[in-house]
């Protein structure tokens, strides 16, 4: 179960009348439990198009996407209900401004669950839980979503999706525009949700530290093709960095700097700060 992509391609009409191929022949399988996936790639590499497929917002032009047993492809029957899939796969968009519209935070959070047939009472109960989960408190529920700061808006928009109780949670650049502390708190929050519920979480990001420190699996898109699907600590080879214009995570650039200064290679790549410290003590000093 979960999400399966089979030879999925999707293109947009460009102004000149040509076709801009956003994603090409994507094959990937995502489990509904136990994965923390980061999706990276340059601007315009097709990340957003790919996650919109996962949410059944668009259907593939060629190939097929299977979401929790429901197969989506071109020319499929019109009576396939897409709405239940959107409850199972929650997608948080990059800009909270696109989603917030109600008078109070509470009403905005219960908007999603109510659309999926949850009673008002239960939805309010869920809202009170998720608002704490995203690191805000119940006082926020009565405030207007438009008077919040950028970070708070982001949290509220995430709470709105969490209240739908999706099986898979997808976040499109959740940490963009946040300060480092806010970013870390939000990522810890996702990690916490992931550990508590074992739900699969997919994060689109440009931040290599997120990739390296949090992800259990990383997908790299380059010009619409899926070029890497595997462990984060195997991703950052010199060749890959050059080919896909990747940044180094802080930990690895520190390692590189130390190796250059001491003119000596470490025996393995560190997975955490403590790991690096231990390796440096043992091998360099």
């Amino acid at each position: 179960m979960g999400i399966q992509f089979k030879d999925v391609s999707y293109g947009y009409q460009s102004i000149e009348g040509g076709l801009f191929q956003a994603i090409k022949d994507i094959n990937v399988s995502i489990e509904s439990t136990g994965e923390f996936i980061t999706l990276i790639g340059e601007t315009g590499s097709g990340k957003s198009t790919m996650v919109q497929h996962m949410n059944a917002l668009i259907t593939p032009q060629t190939g097929s996407v299977e979401i929790f047993g429901v197969k989506l492809h071109k020319g499929m029957k019109k009576d396939v209900k897409l709405n239940p899939l959107r409850q199972k796969v929650g997608l948080v968009f990059q800009f909270p401004e696109y989603q917030l519209f109600e008078e109070t935070v509470l009403k905005d959070i219960i908007f999603g669950p109510k659309n999926f047939g949850v009673s008002e009472e239960d939805a309010v109960k869920r809202a009170k839980e998720v608002i704490k989960l995203v690191g805000l408190d119940e006082r926020y529920l009565d405030r207007s979503p438009f008077n919040l700061s950028g970070g708070e808006k982001k949290r509220v928009s995430i709470a709105g999706i969490l209240a739908m109780e999706p099986d898979i949670l997808i976040l499109d650049e959740p940490t963009s525009g946040l300060d480092p502390k806010g970013r870390d708190r939000l990522l810890d929050l996702f990690m916490d949700i992931h550990h508590k519920t074992n739900k699969t979480i997919i994060v689109i990001t440009h931040d290599m530290n997120t990739v390296y420190n949090y992800a259990s699996r990383v997908l790299v898109l380059n010009k619409g093709s899926l070029v890497y699907d595997g462990l984060p600590n195997e991703l950052f080879s010199d060749e890959n960095i050059l080919n896909w214009n990747l940044d180094l995570p802080d930990l690895l650039s520190l390692q590189k700097h130390l190796e250059k200064t001491y003119k000596k290679k470490l025996s393995k790549t560190p997975i955490s700060t403590e790991d690096l410290l231990r390796l440096v003590k043992e091998e360099l000093l």
Binding site: F93, F95, F111, N115, I161
Partner: protein
């Protein structure tokens, strides 16, 4: 939404494209006025030929012009029918009784039911509707045995037919001419031309430059707003808003969930735009230099002289005949 085109400008090479936006606007106004002054059947025919001539020489595709006419089709049919039915001066051309009787009423209902069920399968739906209406009218006029439920007399006079012809021709000419203008002129050029033509209005304290600025900003932001609307729709769809289905009450909620973010984003955007303009030293009402400058060529003079002669000629003809 990457394929949004504002206006309907189609690139081309003909003299229409070499003309200045100002002269095109002026010529349009003069020709429109001429279309209203002309009141003789043959003169109107001449006018139609002139417009056709502009079309051919201008190298514009006829299909695009027809597409531009489509929205006014209903209006044309309405005015045509009303003119035909309600003008009763001149000679009587044709008269008939439309009678609704006990026997042809079920036949009429059957035709309507047949139309309702088959309209899905017909390609030219509008034509099909017209044919059906005409069929019903023919039925009522010719076949009415049994008890009469109601009856009315239809009379068509020569003035009605002529009036209908003139109104149709004028509308077609006006729409065709304005389509020619928008097809051959970029929205930005059109805006600039409009600004220059409205400049004399500054005497009565109307600032043409500001109006033009408002128009050009509005034009610029149409694709941006469409793009944004699309993104908001996706964001709300992922929260279970089904924009395709739902009852009336749901529909209202769906529209609100789309409009509120639209408004908020637009206000924010306009604030930012105002800051960006001020940061580049834009002061409303102060003279500015231009990146695009309109150039008046000999073609423009030629065209303006020509259309003025057409106008003068039509006035003379109307006075003489």
């Amino acid at each position: 939404m990457k394929n949004v085109v504002i206006g309907q400008y189609v690139p081309g090479q003909s003299f229409l494209y070499r003309m200045d936006a100002r002269s095109k606007l002026l010529a349009l106004i003069i020709l429109m006025a001429t279309a209203f002054i002309v009141q003789n059947f043959y003169h109107m025919l001449g006018m139609v030929i002139l417009v056709g001539f502009i079309l051919v020489v201008g190298g514009l595709s006829i299909t695009r012009i027809v597409r531009g006419l489509r929205p006014v089709l209903i209006l044309l049919l309405f005015t045509f029918t009303f003119q035909m039915l309600f003008v009763n001066t001149g000679d009587l051309l044709y008269t008939t009784d439309l009678t609704l009787s006990l026997y042809n009423l079920p036949i009429m209902l059957a035709i309507i039911a047949f139309w309702m069920f088959t309209k899905k399968y017909v390609k030219f739906r509008f034509l099909y509707l017209l044919l059906t209406i005409f069929g019903i009218l023919a039925l009522l006029a010719s076949f009415a045995p049994g008890d009469i439920i109601s009856s009315s007399r239809v009379q068509i006079y020569t003035d009605g037919v002529l009036g209908a012809f003139f109104i149709m021709m004028r509308l077609i000419i006006i729409v065709t001419l304005s389509t020619i203008l928008t097809l051959s002129t970029k929205p930005t050029d059109l805006n600039l031309g409009l600004e220059r033509l409205l400049k004399p209005l500054s005497i009565i304290k109307i600032n043409a430059e500001e109006i033009a600025m408002i128009i050009s900003i509005a034009l610029r932001y149409i694709p941006t707003l469409l793009d944004e609307a699309n993104k908001i729709m996706l964001a709300q769809a992922s929260r279970g808003v089904d924009f395709k289905e739902g009852k009336f009450r749901d529909k209202i909620m769906q529209i609100i969930s789309l409009l509120v973010p639209m408004f908020i984003i637009s206000f924010k955007r306009s604030d930012e735009l105002a800051n960006a303009m001020e940061a580049r030293n834009f002061v409303p009402g102060r003279p500015r230099t231009r990146l695009h400058i309109l150039k008046w060529n000999y073609v423009d003079t030629l065209v303006i002289v020509f259309v003025t002669i057409v106008l003068a000629f039509s006035i003379v003809l109307r006075v003489v005949f």
